[in-house]
Structures are given as C-alpha cells and as structure tokens.
C-alpha cells in the first residue's frame, strides 16, 4: 500500500465515510483561476478510481475577462458514479466558488443542502460589489439552505507554500490546487495522478512543483483535520465491461479516429484547419503525432483548408478538415467542388452557438440543416453525428470509411459539449478495428474516370499513375469519360448518380437501434450530443412505468432504412434538439409523421429534469 493510499485510509477512518452512488461537483472561479485545470485533474483522478463520469467545461469566450466579473466566470462540472451515467448532471451537490462572481453565477444550480465551499479571502467589499451583491452573501441568510464552508484558501495557500520562496503572485496562484486537494478529501480521490501531472508540468521548475504539491496536500489535510466537514464520501468503481479504459475528450477522440482510419486504410492522414473555437484542439492534437506520418496544415483561411483537403485527397491522402459553423459556411463552396469531383474528404463541424460568432465557447446543434442543404446545386453528402465524447472516435473512423468507399465528402457533426467534455472510454484493441479497404486503379486499359462500381463510386485514380492522366473539375462531366459536358440530359443523369450514390450509403449502415419497446405511447428521437440527457430522461420515465422509447440517430443522411417503420410504431414523437427544430423538420418532411419538437438554445445541454417534465406533459396531454 502506498503512502497515499494509507493517507486515504486514515482519513477515512478519522471521519464519517458515506457511500454514494453518484456525485456532481462544480468548480467555479475567474477565468484566470485555473478552474479548467482543477476540473481536468479531478476528472483524471476520478477516471482512475474507475467511476463512470461525464464532464461539462463551461468557460467564457474571453481568454481573460475582467477579474471578478460575472462575465469572466469559468466553470467545470463533473458527474461521477458507481453506475452507468450519460450526462454531467443537472444540479450539483458540491459547488466550489473561488469568488463572489462565481457564487452568484452558479448558486442557482446547487442543490438545497449541498456543499458550498468558498474562498472566503476572495470576498472583499470590492469583489462583492463587482459581483452585484449589496452586502456580503456569506454573512446573511441567503446561504442558510446550504452547507456553507468558508475556507480562507488564499491565506492557507500562502501559508503552506511560504517556505518555497515563490513570488507572492505565483504562490497565490496555487490556491486552485488547494481547492482541488480539499475536494479530493471530500470525495476520496487519490492524489497520485495529480502529483504525477505536477511532476510532468513543472518538472523544470522545482519551486512551482513543490508549491503546488504542498497546496494539494494542505487542501486534503484541511478537510481531514478541521471540523468543517462532518462527513465525506466514497463512490465505488462503476461496473464496466472488462477491458482497458482511459479518459478521453471529444476532440482528442476525433483526432484519434482520423489517425486510426488512415492507419487501417494503410494510408497517410492529411489534416488541415484554420483556428476556430471549439475545433482547434483537433488540430493541436494531430500535430503532436507527426510520427504517424500525419501531415498537418494550418491554412490561411477556412476556404483554403477545404481546398487543400480536396487537393490532398486528389493526390491520394486520407484528407480531413475540422471547423465550426462559421467556418463551414466558408467551406461550403469548396464542398460543392468535392461533391462534383467525387473525392473522399472528411469535414468535422464542431458546432457552437450561432449564428455568426454567437456564443463561440458554448454548445448548440443548429448546423444540421446547413450540413444537409447548405450548398449550391443538388449537392447531397453523407452526414454522421457523434453522441458522446468517446463516440467522436468511432464517428470520425466511420466517416472516413464511408468517404473512401463511396468516394464522397462526409460531414461529421460534433459540438462544443462533446468536444470539450470527457468520459471513460474502453479503448479498442487495434487488431479489432475494421480494415478500411482502398483501391487505386493502375491499369490504363479501359480506364474511365467517371465509371462507377456497384456502390456507384468512381475510381480513385492517382496522379503519377502511368497512363491514367485525366482531368477533373467543377464543370459537369460526361458520364464515364469525365469530359466536360454541357449536355442537359447528361447533367440530370449525373445529378441522379450523385444522389443515388449517397442514398446507397444506407445499404451499408446498420438498422436503427431503439432503446425500449419498438412501439408504444411515445418515442424520443434525438441526434448528436444530446444523447446522454435524452437517454437518462427516457430511462427515468421507463422506471416510472411509462411507455417511452428512445431512438438516437448517428446517421442523419441518409437515415437508416428502418427509421420510418420504427417511427410509425408510436402514438407520439418528441424530438429534443438544441436548435429550433431542424431534425424535426427533416423527420416530418421525410416520413410525414406528426412529430413535435423540444427546443433549447442557451448554449448548454438539456437537463434531464426538463426532458422528464416534457415527457410527462406529452403523455398527460392524452387526457
């Protein structure tokens, strides 16, 4: 048993230890307070405990909004459990508020009776006023309904690191790690992963490493030895399928999905992008893996990124580009070219709240119709959406698989919530990953650049191949020969070929799965990042004996062949979306069903509670 484990055991013995099935913790502070850092560390430690988990980082668009302001509050929420969970949770049981503004912004989400841990040193007349309080909220009755723990974190942190010899400012910055240590004690998390991380991060700066370690331990010991907390908690490991697990964020998972797809195709990955929130992390992750022969190109703009991807695909690379809504708009002309050239490119749209710059760091799923129809001309292409952070891996992988099989650009929809959120992931074994077959013609005999195989895909003929010289381009091409053709009948034939090819993708995707019975009173149909909230709400309704099922779509174009039949098995259809009813419109138009939408556009996921309520209302509407 390590010293740390011993420490935890002793701590457990010293205080009342209560077992919980799940807990939700939120860290909140100034955007400069390091809340994302402590949230990530708490997540890593929790993953290693073996809990199931889901996270919701929530940060402002400004890198450093004015200190102490409401706009500058940054938060990180984590839900962790000994059972399977799908969402970061609605209300939190423990809120760590590093200043009055963080308290003001987040208090509404704290459960009555929940733990409220505040850095009391940060409550000065000035910051209190800046947060919009008339008087010190820690002194009045306002917080009477919570377990308020006033911890002078700044002073305690400065005291514990004083011998290290840091500058005052640097010493004070360790207070977030003090808060982390305190929550580690409260929820019985191991310190070791964070200590390892400190070693990695500050290995070259021994003073900083030492100070942070002291702050972490001081926070932990503070919980253990003071009388502030009467009880602390244990959440046992979740029962998970056997296997090797890791914690993964959505954008990293997408990056690995692209690498894995190129690997399984035996080809090189070419990834290009232009900096845009919340997609840039895919670029940042991929550039670390140049030893996978990944070529990463930061283009001069979104248009160039899309065009460079097309050029690379023409050259035979597995080409991908990632962006968010405004970038998608810029790429759309070139997407039309990719459809016309019939070349495989994967385009990842990490959606954010729009239109225009909108809420660039907040999530939304309002780019579905853009993906379906946001191009000129008859321009269909396959669309897939990831449902959870780790699912970004499988979605990116499948997007490439479809792209090269059908010789088409494929749009993968992710969103800000998936991109930055993390969860445990059972890592696939490489030998279990499907191969991605790719063939390039080499025989000039009978070569026709626009001939089609049974999937209606044209050959992926590479420049540099003897005798296969041919020209492609945005002008309509004659069937088979690929010569420029203005023939009206040929144009219609080619439009129909391109559409039929995309429709054919439905033949190779699995039938739509359904959670619950395949007929009944109500089915919820969702897509993308809302999976967790919707599934949890449906679970709850089913536990309460309701006749409710759940369909979650990964394939948005084409949709699974059995979807219409499934929908007709229900008296009512509810479509929850973080938009004003985009899938709803598609379902109504495609299947002529009287589906009803649930909309939300607040830059945040659905809470389970609001969906449960809507389910109840819908079912009770029968009477």
């Amino acid at each position: 048993m390590t010293r740390l484990d011993t420490q935890i055991e002793q701590a457990a013995a010293a205080k009342n230890l209560e077992d919980l099935k799940s807990a939700i913790v939120r860290f909140a502070g100034d955007s400069g307070d390091g809340m994302q850092v402590v949230g990530t560390q708490f997540t890593n430690a929790t993953a290693l405990v073996g809990n199931d988990l889901a996270t919701l980082p929530d940060f402002p668009a400004e890198i450093r909004a004015p200190a102490g302001s409401l706009a500058g509050v940054s938060g990180f929420q984590i839900n962790f459990a000994s059972t399977e969970i799908f969402t970061p949770g609605d209300t939190v049981q423990t809120l760590v508020a590093m200043n009055p503004a963080a308290l003001k912004v987040n208090l509404g989400d704290l459960e009555r009776g929940g733990h409220l841990i505040v850095n009391s040193d940060a409550f000065t007349p000035q910051t209190i006023k800046q947060a919009g309080y008339d008087k010190d909220p820690l002194e009045g009755d306002e917080l009477a309904g919570y377990h308020l723990h006033k911890v002078p974190m700044t002073r305690l942190t400065l005291d514990c690191v004083k011998d290290v010899g840091l500058k005052h400012k640097d010493a004070e910055r360790c207070k977030n790690i003090f808060a982390l240590g305190l929550t580690y004690w409260l929820y019985e998390r191991p310190l070791a992963p964070t200590l390892r991380w400190l070693q990695e991060k500050f290995g070259k700066d021994e003073k900083l490493r030492q100070a942070n370690e002291l702050a972490l331990r001081a926070g932990f010991n503070y919980g253990n030895t003071t009388e502030l907390f009467q009880v602390h908690y244990r959440i046992l490991p979740a029962r998970q399928e056997p296997g090797v697990y890791r914690k993964i964020r959505g954008n990293d998972a997408a990056a690995y999905g692209l690498i894995a797809a190129a690997w399984q195709a035996g080809k090189r990955l070419f990834y290009t992008g232009y900096p845009i929130t919340p997609a840039s992390d895919i670029l940042h992750e991929l550039v670390k893996h140049k030893n996978f022969q990944v070529k990463v190109f930061q283009a001069e703009d979104e248009i160039a990124a899309m065009c460079a991807a097309i050029g690379a695909a023409y050259g035979g690379a597995m080409a991908a580009t990632g962006t968010s809504g405004p970038g998608m708009a810029l790429k759309s002309e070139a997407l039309g070219l990719a459809v016309m050239l019939e070349l495989p490119v994967v385009i990842i749209n990490v959606q954010r709240a729009g239109p225009s710059t909108g809420l660039p760091t907040k999530t939304e799923q309002a780019d579905l119709l853009q993906a379906v129809g946001g191009r000129h001309g008859e321009c269909p292409l396959p669309i897939l959406a990831a449902q959870s952070p780790s699912d970004c891996f499988w979605t990116a992988f499948e997007a490439f698989k479809i792209a090269v099989r059908y010789m088409t650009p494929v749009i993968m929809l992710s969103d800000g919530y998936l991109a930055n959120g993390s969860e445990p992931w059972r890592v696939p074994r490489v030998e279990d990953l499907p191969k991605i077959p790719v063939a390039h013609p080499t025989d000039p005999e009978g070569f026709r650049p626009y001939s089609r195989n049974p999937d209606l895909a044209r050959p992926w003929a590479l420049p540099g191949t003897r005798g296969l010289a041919h020209r492609v381009g945005g002008l309509e091409k004659e069937d088979l020969t690929g010569r420029v053709s203005y023939d009206p009948v040929n144009h219609e034939r080619m439009c129909r070929f391109r559409a039929a090819k995309i429709a054919k993708v439905a033949e190779s995707i699995p039938d739509q799965a359904i959670y619950g019975d395949d007929h009944g009173d109500l089915v919820l149909v969702s897509w993308g990042g809302t999976f967790g909230s919707v599934r949890t709400a449906v679970e709850r309704a089913r536990e309460a004996g309701r006749s409710v099922s759940h369909i979650h779509l990964r394939h948005l174009n084409p949709m699974p062949r059995n979807l219409g039949t499934l929908l007709r098995g229900f008296r009512k259809i509810l479509v929850p979306e973080l938009n004003m009813g985009q899938l709803l419109m598609l379902l109504r138009a495609t299947y002529l069903v009287d589906a009803v939408g649930i909309d939300k556009m607040q830059g945040r996921p659905f809470t389970v509670a609001e969906l449960v309520l809507k389910i109840q209302q819908t079912l009770e509407g029968d009477h």
Partner: protein
C-alpha cells in the same frame, strides 16, 4: 513514402502533351500561344505527363488543364493555389503547375496567392494577365488601368490597379518573372526557367484578350514600338533597351529610376542599373517591377530567382525528425494514452 514512385523522363513531341478535348477559347486569344509554348517547354524538358498536375481556378485561362494530356483539376474561383498546396503536401513527387488569371489570382484568390507565395511551396504559378474579366464578359479587373471604361465601370474605374509582379515580390516569391504571349521564344525560355526553379515560381504573362480588352499590351507587342517600351532583364547585365540599344535605366541619388539616352549628358553604360536576380533582398526586384509604360520601359524576364527553404520539404524533414525522436508509430499506445486502468472480468 509516396503513393507512387516518380516516373522517368520521357521523350515526347509538343503535340503529345495536348488532350483530345476541343479547345474553346475565342479565335485569336493569347491563350493559344501560351498553351503552345507550355507544350514546347514540356517537350524540351522531357516532362512526363503522367507525373504532372495542372491546377486552375475559374476564368478563360483556367480552362487550360482540360487541354493538356496531364492530370488536372479545374477547381473553383481563386482557389487553385490552395488546392495545389494540399496536393503538394500530400504528394512531394508530382510536378504541380497552377494556372490563374488576374481576376482569379489577384481578386477573389488574392489571399491564397499571397500565402502560397510566402510559404515557398514547390509549385509553379502562371498568371495570364489580360487586365479584364473575359469569361464574364468584360468587367474591370484588379489589374485594369485606372479610368478604364468597362461594362461595370462605364464612367471609368476609380480604383488603383495592382501590379502582379510587385505583389509577388512583395510576398517575397523566390522566383518572379514576366513574359508576353506574343514572344514565343521568351515565353518558352521563361517557362523553362520557372520549371527548373526549386520552390515557388510566379510568372506573369501578358495575354491579349482580343474580344474584351484588345491590344491592352500593344506597347509591348507592337513590332514598331515595342523595343522602346520594353526592357529585357538579364542577370548581371545593364538595363539597356531601345530599337538601337541606345537607352538605359539608371538610379538617381534619390533612388528614383530615370531613363537616359546613352551618350547624352555624358550618360554611359557604367551608370546604368545592373540587374541582379540573385539578390537576397527583394528591393531591386521590387523597384524594377514598378517601371511601367509609358514613364519607363516595362521589364520582362526574370526579376528574382533565389534559393530558399521550401515549405513542403521542411514539413517532410520535420516528420522524419519527429519520427526519429518519437519512434515508430504505435497506434495502440496512442489510443491508450498516458493513463489507463483495467476492468477485469468478474
């Protein structure tokens, strides 16, 4: 690790580089001459058509890839340099030529042109400059002279015009040249120089649009007057021009160039500007690019030809270096990440 090996040098006639696609440029268009000289230059250099890709944007000139028996992409307006960049990065082994025009390259595609030049990718860019929008029937272009009357500027254009070579030199292109559609030998020579350059080569070609902007470059093409209006740049040689080779360009003490007649006021060949296409600084090349008719003779030839690190080669080197440092890729290790835990079967 490329997808196909480099193909060997071949021995083909100019006509062998042409495709069987019907050419649809207007009769008398300057593009015909450029196409012919490209084929000749390729034949001279023994280019393998199966190893060449022409990438173009939109406009009359951008139809050229269809007329070459090479690989080709006729892309979208202004974006050819961006497509070519992706192709170049994916395929270090291919020869890539971009065909663009003044509207395609300097208006809608100005940003891509700028960045592909400053990166110094190994790509050749030929800009057919006819100072007009031809395919869309005669609107003013970014290289049209001020006060130009066109369908979109019936009262005369009010915007200043951009000088393609100044643009390219300003972006520090490592090879910049200018030539004229009506000078077959010079055109062919210039194309061959561009082909041999390691890195980005930018060539402006004066091209006559006989329908919408006929004789826009008359000063450079009229047999009677052109020798007085044009100065041919030669590395290490003085800027001498004129029908009788009796005029030159010299630099005044205030750095303003002036035209002198040799012999007048004691002006001698030793006073003249000496061209240096290898100068590290782009200053001289830029100054020369500013010489415009009618105030000065317009230079044709190679403004600049220097060796510099090539973007796509640096990318490859970085990949090789990092592979050496990080070791051979291990996908399982990548997927597992820094920390894993194992759940055992019960």
């Amino acid at each position: 690790m490329s997808d196909t090996a480099t193909l060997p040098v071949v021995n083909l006639q100019p006509k062998d580089y042409g495709s069987n696609q019907e050419i649809r440029w207007c009769p008398g268009c300057g593009d015909y001459s450029i196409l012919a000289q490209i084929k000749k230059a390729f034949s001279n250099l023994g280019k393998d058509p199966d190893n060449v890709v022409f990438v173009s944007g939109i406009g009359c000139s951008s139809r050229l890839p269809y007329y070459m028996n090479t690989f080709g992409i006729h892309s979208i307006h202004g974006r050819a340099p961006a497509l070519a960049t992706g192709l170049r990065l994916a395929r270090p082994d291919l020869e890539i030529w971009v065909i663009t025009g003044d509207g395609d390259g300097l208006s809608i595609g100005g940003n891509h042109l700028l960045h592909s030049i400053r990166r110094n990718l190994n790509i050749k860019i030929l800009m057919f400059n006819n100072r007009i929008y031809g395919l869309t029937k005669g609107q003013v272009s970014p290289t049209s002279e001020r006060n130009k009357k066109t369908v979109s500027t019936p009262f005369g254009s009010v915007g200043a015009s951009i000088n393609p070579c100044s643009f390219a030199i300003g972006a520090e292109a490592t090879f910049v040249a200018r030539t004229v559609d009506m000078y077959p030998a010079h055109l062919q020579y210039t194309l061959e120089r561009a082909a041999k350059h390691r890195g980005m080569a930018f060539v402006e070609i004066y091209q006559n649009c006989n329908i919408f902007n006929n004789e826009a470059f008359n000063h450079a093409t009229d047999r009677e007057t052109r020798d007085d209006n044009i100065v041919e740049l030669e590395h290490g040689k003085a800027l001498i021009f004129g029908k009788n080779k009796d005029k030159g360009v010299r630099l005044r003490r205030d750095y303003r160039p002036e035209v002198v007649k040799l012999g007048d006021d004691g002006a001698s060949i030793y006073d003249l500007l000496i061209h240096d296409e290898k100068a590290t600084s782009p200053a001289l090349a830029f100054l020369l690019s500013r010489l415009r008719y009618p105030d000065y003779p317009e230079p044709i030839g190679v403004f600049r030809d220097i060796e510099q690190a090539v973007y796509n080669e640096l990318i490859e080197e970085q990949i090789q270096r990092l592979t050496k440092e990080k070791g051979e890729p291990d996908l399982q290790k990548l997927l597992n990440g820094p920390e894993t835990w194992e759940v055992q079967a019960n």
